[in-house]
């Protein structure tokens, strides 16, 4: 996953084999093919929903900055790291 693709969110989409359920601020993800659960906290849930809606990562980061007491730079870094991990686990795939 390169920086270029990470900043091109339209090239990413949620894996169709993953179902999600909001539980409070958190989001539970279930990978049907692997039979594995994942739990995302509020920021992760915000990122997942943003990607599912096709929002640019910059817009998602701005949303996080507006909701949480965090710098834009830090929010961007955290979201990029999360996206890389979600791609590695197959929860996000190339569109």
């Amino acid at each position: 996953m390169t920086e270029a693709t990470l900043t091109s969110p339209r090239s990413l989409r949620t894996n169709e084999d993953v179902v999600a359920r909001a539980v409070g601020d958190d989001l539970i993800l279930l990978d049907l093919e692997a039979g594995t659960y994942y739990s995302l906290n509020g920021v992760g849930a915000m990122a997942w929903k943003g990607i599912a809606d096709g929002q640019p990562l910059g817009a998602i980061a701005a949303h996080v900055v507006a909701e949480y007491d965090v710098s834009e730079e830090r929010a961007g870094e955290d979201i990029r790291a999360l996206v890389a991990e979600l791609v590695e686990k197959g929860l996000l795939v190339q569109a």
């Binding site: 179902v19 999600a20 359920r21 909001a22 049907l32 599912a52």
Partner: protein
């Protein structure tokens, strides 16, 4: 005649439960995942459609639960739901599989929705929050 039909349904259900045990073991998790996704995406028959076709969905569910007791193997909720869905299919009543989650350390449960019915022999569905249909938004309905 009604009793005979119910006995036939239970025998059919028993075959379906055995088939599910074999399929789950032979085809593995990847098949289970794909079958689950497909089963969740189906549009269930409405109660009006069930009534028009003379299908008693509750009795179909009961036939599976009865068969489950005859089987010396322990069927999971997902195997039970798949068997229920296929027995309803055989009667011409499409149904939807619902997966739910509860707890901080997530626990999942599966059941079937058709018409006005939630077919869940363990009666746990009320304690679980339903996952959205694959490809849908994260917020699902509670059942």
């Amino acid at each position: 005649m009604i009793r005979l039909n119910r006995g036939r349904d239970a025998a059919h259900a028993l075959c379906l439960l055995v088939a599910m045990h074999v399929l789950f073991r032979v085809r593995g998790q990847r098949w289970v995942g794909r079958a689950t996704r497909s089963a969740m995406r189906r549009t269930p028959a409405t109660q009006t459609e069930l009534d028009a076709a003379g299908i008693d969905a509750w009795q179909v569910g009961r036939a599976v639960w009865r068969a489950k007791r005859w089987l010396p193997l322990r069927s999971t909720c997902l195997q039970t739901a798949f068997a229920t869905q296929r027995l309803l299919d055989a009667k011409g009543a499409p149904s939807a599989l619902v997966l739910g989650v509860r707890g901080v350390t997530p626990q999942a449960h599966a059941w079937v929705r058709v018409g006005d019915f939630v077919l869940d022999d363990q009666r746990l569905s009320e304690d679980f929050m339903a996952f959205a249909t694959p490809g849908g938004q994260a917020e699902g309905s509670s059942r």
